[in-house]
């Protein structure tokens, strides 16, 4: 089972707190891009862009893959936090449903007596 991790959520918040990084995500939402292309697009040095991409990668928002000499970045939305949140959402949904269901069946039991 995936554990709901506060540290990962903090990493996500941190990653999203920067305007350039939000821009990078938007850019990658349109198309995958190399670090070099992103650096050019955001008028930044290669080293600077690598740092930003590193933060996004750490947060699971971006994945990178190196083919030959080019490192390609893409959105990594299907990360663990999302799955944990998804399961948590279902847990909440069903817990609420079952609490109400308990009340309904208790009434049915009383009526039968």
């Amino acid at each position: 089972m995936v554990q709901y991790s506060q540290a990962n959520f903090d990493a996500t918040f941190g990653a999203l707190s920067d305007a350039t990084r939000r821009g990078i995500l938007e850019q990658l939402g349109l198309a995958d891009a190399s670090i070099t292309a992103l650096a050019e697009r955001f008028h930044m040095t290669l080293t600077g862009m690598k740092k930003h991409v590193g933060v996004l990668e750490q947060a699971g928002l971006v994945t990178t893959e190196k083919v030959g000499r080019v490192r390609t970045c893409k959105l990594g939305l299907r990360h663990l936090e999302e799955e944990a949140a998804w399961i948590e959402g279902h847990r909440k949904l069903w817990t609420e449903r079952f609490n109400e269901l308990d009340i309904v069946v208790e009434e049915l039991k009383l009526k039968e007596r």
């Binding site: 089972m1 959520f9 996500t12 918040f13 999203l16 939000r22 995500l25 938007e26 939402g29 349109l30 928002l61 959105l75 939305l77 299907r78 936090e81 999302e82 799955e83 949140a85 998804w86 399961i87 948590e88 959402g89 279902h90 847990r91 909440k92 949904l93 069903w94 817990t95 609420e96 449903r97 079952f98 609490n99 109400e100 269901l101 308990d102 009340i103 309904v104 069946v105 208790e106 049915l108 039991k109 039968e112």
Partner: protein, 156 residues
């Protein structure tokens, strides 16, 4: 009261496309089955109050091939959930499809197993694709993911 302890809800993603929810209900299977199949009972518990949705209609034709349709009102907009019952075995098994999503049918299988007057309830959701898993109708995403969705929403 016979019991004051709330039974534990167990929830598990058993494969990429399958979610299983299990819970014991302190009542015989036929009563739990009633609560799932009689519209006037079903509508009282199926939609969590915390969702802020108003269930305005609930039609259920509970037989194999029969349809169901739930109508909601949320902040002035109407929404519908609908699908078809595939299998109806009184007091033991219920299978229905959920057809309103764009990504294909989600199939829900509910089994009711009676043990010592209590019902072991198992709900299995099978999603048609991982895209359908992503858009599953839970609505309870943490704030940070809502933010992210908003940010990326316009990008399709």
């Amino acid at each position: 009261m016979e019991q004051s302890i709330v039974n534990e809800t167990k929830i598990e993603k058993i494969s990429e496309l399958e979610l299983v929810v299990t819970r014991t209900i302190n009542a015989p299977a036929r009563l739990v089955f009633d609560a799932f199949t009689r519209a006037e009972l079903f509508r009282r518990w199926w939609v969590p109050k915390s969702y802020g949705l108003n269930l305005v209609s609930c039609e259920m034709d509970v037989r194999a091939g029969g349809e169901y349709r739930l109508g909601f009102l949320h902040e002035g907009a109407t929404m519908e959930f609908f699908g078809t019952y595939v299998e109806v075995t009184p007091d033991s098994r219920l299978v229905w499809t959920n057809d309103e999503g764009d990504a294909g049918q989600t199939v829900t299988t509910v089994t009711f197993e009676e043990i010592d007057g209590k019902t072991r309830l198992k709900v299995l959701d099978r999603y048609p694709s991982s895209e359908a898993v992503d858009t599953g109708s839970t609505g309870a995403m943490p704030e940070v993911l809502n933010q992210l969705e908003e940010l990326l929403g316009s990008l399709g």
